[in-house]
Symmetry: C2
Subunit: 187 residues, 2 copies
Amino acid sequence: MTENSREKILLAATKIAQAHGYNGLNFRDLAEDVGIKAASIYYYFPSKADLAAAVAKRYWENAAAALETLSAESADPVSALRRYPETFRWALENENRMCLSGFMAAEYDDLPEAVKKEVQTFADVNVAWLSKVLSAAKVVSPKKSEPRARAIFAAVGGAQLMARSRSDITLYDTLISSYRAAGLLPA
Amino acid sequence: MTENSREKILLAATKIAQAHGYNGLNFRDLAEDVGIKAASIYYYFPSKADLAAAVAKRYWENAAAALETLSAESADPVSALRRYPETFRWALENENRMCLSGFMAAEYDDLPEAVKKEVQTFADVNVAWLSKVLSAAKVVSPKKSEPRARAIFAAVGGAQLMARSRSDITLYDTLISSYRAAGLLPA
DNA sequence: ACCTGAACACCGTTCAAGT
DNA sequence: ACCTGAACACCGTTCAAGT
C-alpha cells in the first residue's frame, strides 16, 4: 500500500494518455487521480515532456516484455504470429483505450523530441519482433519479412483506430479476420 | 479577394485539425490565421464543437466528391482501386498532415457527439466506395466486398499514421506496396 | 452585419514556503 | 524528502460594446 507517488503518476498518466493523448493529458486531473496537487508532479518529473517520455518508454518496455512472453508461450512461430493481434486488442477491452504510440503518432507535430523517440522505439520493437517471427515461421522469404512486418504493424494499428472510433471491439476482430482472409496475416 | 470570413475559418481550421487534431485546434491561433480576433469566430460558429462538426462534414463531402472523380476518371474498377491510396497520400504530401477523421478517431473520447457523427460518415463514405468498386472489379465475392473494404480502409489509415510518425512519405509507399504484395490490395 | 476588448474558469509551469 | 498555494501566460467562452 505504500506505493510511491512516482509509480502512481506513471500508471495514471499512461491510462490518461491512452484515452486522450499527449495534448489531452493534464496535470490537474492527473494529480487528482494520484491524490496530490499538480505542482507536486514537478517533484518527480521536470516537465510534461519528461513525464510523457517516461510513460512512453515504460510503455514500449512492457510491450517488448509481453512480446517475449508471447514467443516463449507459443509452441511455434506461426501460433505466436496468430496471437499478435491480442496485444492490441487489450487496450480496446480496457475502456476503449488505444495504443499510446498510435495516438501519439497522430499527435506527432505536438510531441517533444524525447517523446517522439520513445514512440518510434515502440514501433521498432514491434517490427523487429514481427520480422523475426515471420522469418522463423517462413511465412515470407527472409528478405521480405521486414516490409511485411511493417505492413502488419501499420494495419493492426489502423484496425485498432477504426474500432475505437466506433467503440466496437467486434469490428477489430472482423478486421483482423479480413486481414487473414486477404493474406496479410497467416490464416 | 473578398472571400468571406466563414470560408476562411473553415479552410484554416481544417488544416490545423489535420495537423493537431480537435484538442490541438485553438481559437486564438485560428483567428490569427484568418486575420480576426478569437471572439469573432463565435459570430460564425456557436462553439468549437459546431466549428469542428462543420469542418468534418465539409471534409467527408470533399472526400466523397474526390472518390466520384476517381471513379469517373478511371477506365475500370481495378485501376480506380489501384489509385485509392493516392487520396490518403495527399495529406502526407502537404506538410506531413493526416486524415482529419483518422486523427479524430484517436481523439474519440474528447469529441462532441456532432463531430463523432461526421467522422463516422467519412469512414462510411470510404467503405461504401471501396465496397462498390471491389464488387465491380470482382476482386472478391460480392458477399465479402464489404469486410474487405473495411480492411482496406483501416489498413490505409494505419499506413498513413505510421508514415506520419516518421515524417516519411516513402514509408507510406512501401507499406502500400506491401499490402499489394500480401494480397490485401490488387496488385 | 461583422467585429472587438475585457472578463471568466481553465491549462502548464515556477517558486517560495511549509513539514 | 515530499508536498502545497499562489502566481504567470495560456486556453474556450461570454458579453457588452463598437462600427
